[in-house]
Amino acid sequence: MSTATAAPQEHRSAETAYHIKAGTEGIALDIRDFNLWYGKSQALFDINMPVQKGLVTALIGPSGCGKSTLLRCLNRMNDLIDELRIAGEIRTAQFDIYGPGVDVIALRKRMGMVFQKPNPFAMSIFDNVVYPLRVDGIGNRAILEETCERALRAAALWDEVKDRLKDSALGLSGGQQQRLCIARGIASDPEVLLMDEPCSALDPIATAKIEDLIHQLSGHYTIVIVTHNMQQAARVSDNVGFMYLGRLIEYGDTDTVFVNPKLTQTSDYITGRFG
């Protein structure tokens, strides 16, 4: 794999270490020489990161290192922020996400997203799940019902809510709400599922359920997950990217990163000796 070409700086002990698994189905998202600025301050430096298809890729690193920023670039959620500037490219199999003429709305339909806090809409459970289809203009009741059941089954929520699909989604528990959001994220059958610390607001039992779910969904979807929780990253991911101060420090298969990291900086962070 190619390496970043940025000039070395003092906080950086070495150039990015790459040792990802050999992709079985190829690359879903290829991030190349990606830089990002908020106004004048640079938040991401020369990210080079191929995300492999059908695998779970975790992004770890201390707060403020740019994991969420990078994740939100993948479906261009950062477009909402004024004074944002980027350089470099993020390629899917067909096109550059930041290329000219890209339909952001169409792009987001291919990328389901789950947020840190469960954010169901103030609608019924059914309406929440089929929301992506509704905004796409699909009104056929049969299709909506079929999609709703499929997505809720995939999100392991069907048995808990099948009798009260008409009830408000706000009446669900936090863990159920988050699984509902996952169901909503996969309802339009996207290629990639982006998860921004999906368990940080949940209790351990709900967290375990979500992690099981991620296991089940991997293979079918390419999943990129940002997490603060080392154990979680170790449990759910196939590849791990360690980020620090806006740079991707080490990116490789999970077993190697956690058991035998290539860089001391990574091992310091993983063992908790960091900073």
């Binding site: 709305i105 947020f115 809409f121 609608m123 706000l170 936090g174 959001c181 909503r184």
Partner: protein, 580 residues
Amino acid sequence: MHDTPLQPARGAAAQAPATSGRRLLRLTADLSATGEPALWALGGALAFGVILIAGFLFMISLNGIVTFWPKPIERVELASGQVIAGEPTRAGRYRVGQDVLAKLSGEQRAMVQAQDGYADRTLYKTANFDLYGDDFRWVSDYERKNVTAPNDFYLFERQQWGTFVGRIKHLAIDGKPAAFDYRLMQREQSAARKRFAQIRQIERGDIGAVNYQLDQQRLAIRKAVLRHGEDSPQAKAVAARAQSRIAELNKTFAGLQERLKEIRAHDQRYKATLEEVGGRTVDLELSQIVRFYPANELSMIDKIGIYLSRWWEFLSSEPREANTQGGVLPAIFGTVAMTLLMVVFVAPFGVITALYLREYARQGRLTSIVRISVNNLAGVPSIVYGVFGLGFFAYTLGGGIDALFYPERLPNPTFGTGGVLWASLTLALLTVPVVIVATEEALAAVPRSMREGSLACGASKWQTIRNVVLPKALPGIMTGMILAMARGAGEVAPLMLVGVVKLAPALPVDGFFPFLHLERSFMHLGFHIFDVGFQSRNSEAGKPMVFVTTLLLLALIVAMNAGAIYIRNRLKRKYSGPQF
């Protein structure tokens, strides 16, 4: 090692008793530290506000609630030999002037001097304005010789000339004289009131309809003339058709007049001869008596009955006697109609403006200026909006509408003068800043995570606003609407310029197409208060009505707000269940 920061404190506490003999650490906290004085100030401010509001409501309610309660009639013999009769309305103490004192007899002067130059006086509502030229009379205690409460004195509320106080001398039933009998008179009076209602119905309803159609025909001719020219065949055809219809209508009109004459002649045969305390008599048709009762012979049940019937009349009928008596139904209707119309105008306008300002406009200097200007608009005196409404809405817009659509009615204005449409638009303009500010805040309070959730599903910005943001902000927007409604319903000053009148000839809603007449002027409770209290011939007579009408206006605003709050709370429950 880790508890280093605690060391100095611990050391100081340990050393203090040894060095100074004083305890440095007190067992109770400092008064200023607990915030106790501030608490008293805050609580005191709240209590002061609550007392002010409660006192205000108490005063209005007390004065409003007792107004319709029937009072006894006193017959007073004065020192001068004159006799008066009336309801004692209020009493007070005053210092007797020197010039008055000089004219008094020795006995009276002694009486005043015994009270250090002061005297008590009572205000009697003597009524009988047609005979006395005044409704009220002050009687000082030194003038009073003898006070009785005679049982044969009655109080009459008349259709014209206000109240009458006196005895009933005799009746004329069907043209034949009859001895006075209370039951008989009650029966005949209620029959006479039915005749009166019938006359009203013919005058207002049937003849009104004929007049309306006559007017339509006349306008049709005029319109055809304006469009096709004076001598064109089209105009002539229209005129011919209209003329035949007019002849028909005139026949109907004559028939109605005939019928009216009949009923009136019949009505003339039922009369009562009333005698005031001084002996002068008045002949009165029974149909002219709205209500009468023997004021000093009433049981509690009778009094409650009169009290309730007066309230009912107040709420359900039209005003009479220059608004100082009768009901306020047109004013209630006008207030509600205008407020609801205002909401219809202000809601979409304010919400759309706020949506653009908050969601679409680029946040920069220009939006800040717009925002500040909107906030400042809320502080412009309301009469300024009235002037604008008259100049822009009524004269410019309304004048334009008249010239375009109603040329046949000119020079009589249709929309080119004050009316309920222009009044509600003016008030909408007055209240739109409130709605904009409230809506903006409600939109800003929608969590970012919800918008992002929707956008991440592939929704466009408009779909996000429509499906997620607006429903979530709706309770907050409703709060703004409630504030706007409360402000608008209580506003009077601008309305005086754009369509409120003392007495509206017709309600803005009736049976003639298009049923809702937005160009008509209307009555309003707020203006009614002003008019009765300060513009009537007799402000003393109007005073009780001022309080009753104020009470009603307050009740109406509370009711409208309660309705809006109920809707808002239902929306709140719907759109924000137990949040995670």
